[in-house]
């Protein structure tokens, strides 16, 4: 069961509320610490366990219809043994638009390899 550190960079239109939750394989990010500005969050979620080399990126948002958000996810696979080398970061940019005003939970599964 590989363990990874997930680096993420989330940006949104101002007419989207502050995200209620951003989670990777159900492990939530600390949004209070990671807030860079009203429309930008950046941080790392450490020690996320993954199966099948896939990771579920869940973003819970609410805001006005047709507003945009995006998240860039970089995954650092942690070495299982001390002699293992760190893998290069793999990057998955994800962009989406709120389909309707109100509440929305977007959960998507992305391959990290």
């Amino acid at each position: 069961m590989p363990v990874v550190n997930v680096y993420y960079n989330f940006t949104k239109d101002r007419l989207i509320d502050p995200p209620i939750q951003i989670a990777f394989n159900a492990k939530p990010a600390n949004l209070v610490n990671d807030m860079q500005s009203v429309d930008s969050y950046k941080g790392v979620v450490k020690n996320v366990y993954i199966d099948n080399n896939e990771i579920e990126v869940a973003v819970e948002l609410e805001g006005i219809k047709s507003t945009n958000w995006s998240i860039t996810v970089q995954v650092e696979i942690l070495p299982r043994k001390a002699t293992d080398k760190l893998h290069d970061l793999s990057t998955s940019p994800i962009t989406d638009t709120l389909p309707e005003s109100g509440y929305a939970w977007h959960a998507k599964v992305y391959s990290i390899l």
């Binding site: 101002r14 609410e62 006005i64």
Partner: protein, 448 residues
């Protein structure tokens, strides 16, 4: 005052360059809808400059925080005689307005069916943690032990590649047995089936049988299934959550001040007494509520009391005072421009008012992240006694503003405003309508 206006104008120009914003406003620069953000606005028709700042302070440093405080203030300047008078000596009639605001807000959120949603989120996190714990146990203790028990192929040259495949299969524990059985079948079906392969098949088969009896693996798979179910349930559930926005309630106090020359009439023959300087300070205070009904619409209502004056009913006149001096055979003329206001009397009186605004954001299909804000509003004044101030006055208007959804910047727009709807000689709306062009610049965008 002129200096302040010039500074305000420069600020606005700077703000324009820095992509600066504000919510809707009427002809006097007022709005009952309060949202956090800071804006500078220029109303070209009213010669009005306005800067305001409102900040939300959450009770807890948490995005889910339902309550908080809001504080802010507004500074406004206006030239009663229009923009041109700013640059003409003697005609400038300044008006200033300063107000401060303090209040609180509550986020309103309601789940349509029940309050199960938060529990689902917590259950998901707990389930994930337990699953990770089981996964780590399988990785660190159970799998290596089982492999060592069954894998006695140290003397077999081809075992390494098979071992690698087995370890790869272990990474996906949910379909582990299925993958191992597939691997066993592949080795059996090889064209050249040697002793090492036979040993590998036996080891894999024994491993599969042991894995079937491993309670931790069963629990891990059960937790994975539960997690998938929770994910589906949360996704379905989140669509049923009804958001009811944010309710802001506030107290605002302020003071309006203006200075002008009052014309006491032709009967007065002395210059000093004919035109007198009048300074009027008109305090007001109000309580209000600003409700974000949903993501797209806002409603604001305030009720307050103000020290009204009848300045709006005074007539403005421009005079030129010419004085002559004789220098030898020549005459030297000095001309002084005077702007003065005249009427029955300049009266001030306490009165009450009620204001209401509604704002609806309409997405523009043609332009990405652009919205049109439609804002009808009404102003009701219930002044005190005497002449101009004794009648009920009602003013209505409609504003249209553009907002950039990406930056949250209100980018200005236009408004149409009627004068007194209750006026007795009010006969045709076209004669009394006011048209305004407002440019709004955001120092910080509105953030929902």
């Amino acid at each position: 005052m002129k200096l302040y206006f010039s500074i305000a104008a420069c600020l606005c120009l700077y703000a324009n360059l820095s992509n600066a914003q504000l919510l809707n406003q009427d002809a006097s620069g007022k709005s009952t809808i309060i949202e956090s953000g800071s804006t500078v606005s220029l109303d070209f028709s009213q010669a009005l400059a306005n800067i305001n700042y409102f900040k939300s302070i959450p009770q807890k440093k948490d995005n889910k925080s339902a309550r908080g405080l809001i504080i802010g203030g507004q500074l406004q300047g206006r030239s009663a005689g229009g923009w041109a008078n700013l640059f003409s000596d003697g005609k400038f009639t300044p008006e200033g307005n300063l107000s401060v605001l303090a209040g609180g807000y509550t986020r309103l959120r309601k789940v349509r069916d029940n309050d199960n949603y938060e529990w689902l989120l917590e259950e998901r996190v707990k389930c994930n943690e337990e699953r990770n714990e089981k996964g780590r146990l399988l990785d660190e203790k159970i799998f290596p032990g089982l492999i060592n028990k069954h894998w006695q192929v140290q003397d077999c040259g081809s075992s390494d590649s098979v071992l690698t495949l087995v370890k790869a299969a272990m990474d996906s524990k949910t379909k582990l047995i299925e993958k191992l059985e597939k691997l066993e079948k592949e080795i059996r079906e090889k064209a050249s089936f040697d002793r090492c392969d036979l040993q590998a098949v036996k080891s894999i088969h024994a491993l599969v049988e042991d894995l079937r009896e491993t309670a931790e693996l069963e629990r891990f798979i059960a937790l994975t299934d539960k997690l998938d179910k929770l994910r589906t349930e949360i996704n379905d559930y989140s669509k049923r959550v009804v958001r009811t926005g944010r309710l802001t309630y506030y107290f605002r106090a302020g003071v309006s001040a203006r200075g002008f020359k009052y014309d006491n009439g032709e009967a007065i023959k002395q210059m000093d007494t004919r035109f007198t300087d009048v300074s009027s300070v008109e305090p007001y205070f109000e309580i209000g509520t600003s409700w974000r009904l949903n993501a797209c619409s806002y409603l604001g209502i305030t009720a307050g009391a103000q020290y009204f004056s009848n300045f709006g009913a005074l007539a403005q006149s421009a005079y030129s005072l010419v004085s002559q001096d004789s220098i030898g055979n020549s005459v030297l003329q000095t001309k002084t421009e005077i702007t003065a206001y005249s009427g029955a009397a300049f009266i001030r009186k306490w009165g009450a008012y009620v204001n209401a605004d509604y704002l609806f954001l309409l997405p523009l299909e043609q332009a990405k992240s652009m919205y049109l804000g439609i804002s009808p509003y009404i102003r009701l004044n219930f002044p005190g006694v005497s002449a101009y101030l004794d009648s009920f006055r009602a003013t209505a208007g409609l504003g249209g503003y553009f907002i950039n959804g990406n930056s949250g910047a209100f980018q200005g727009g236009i408004y149409l405003q009627t004068s007194d709807l209750n006026k007795e000689n009010y006969d045709h709306i076209g004669k009394t309508i006011t048209f305004g062009l407002v440019s709004k610049f955001n120092l910080s965008g509105i953030a929902l």
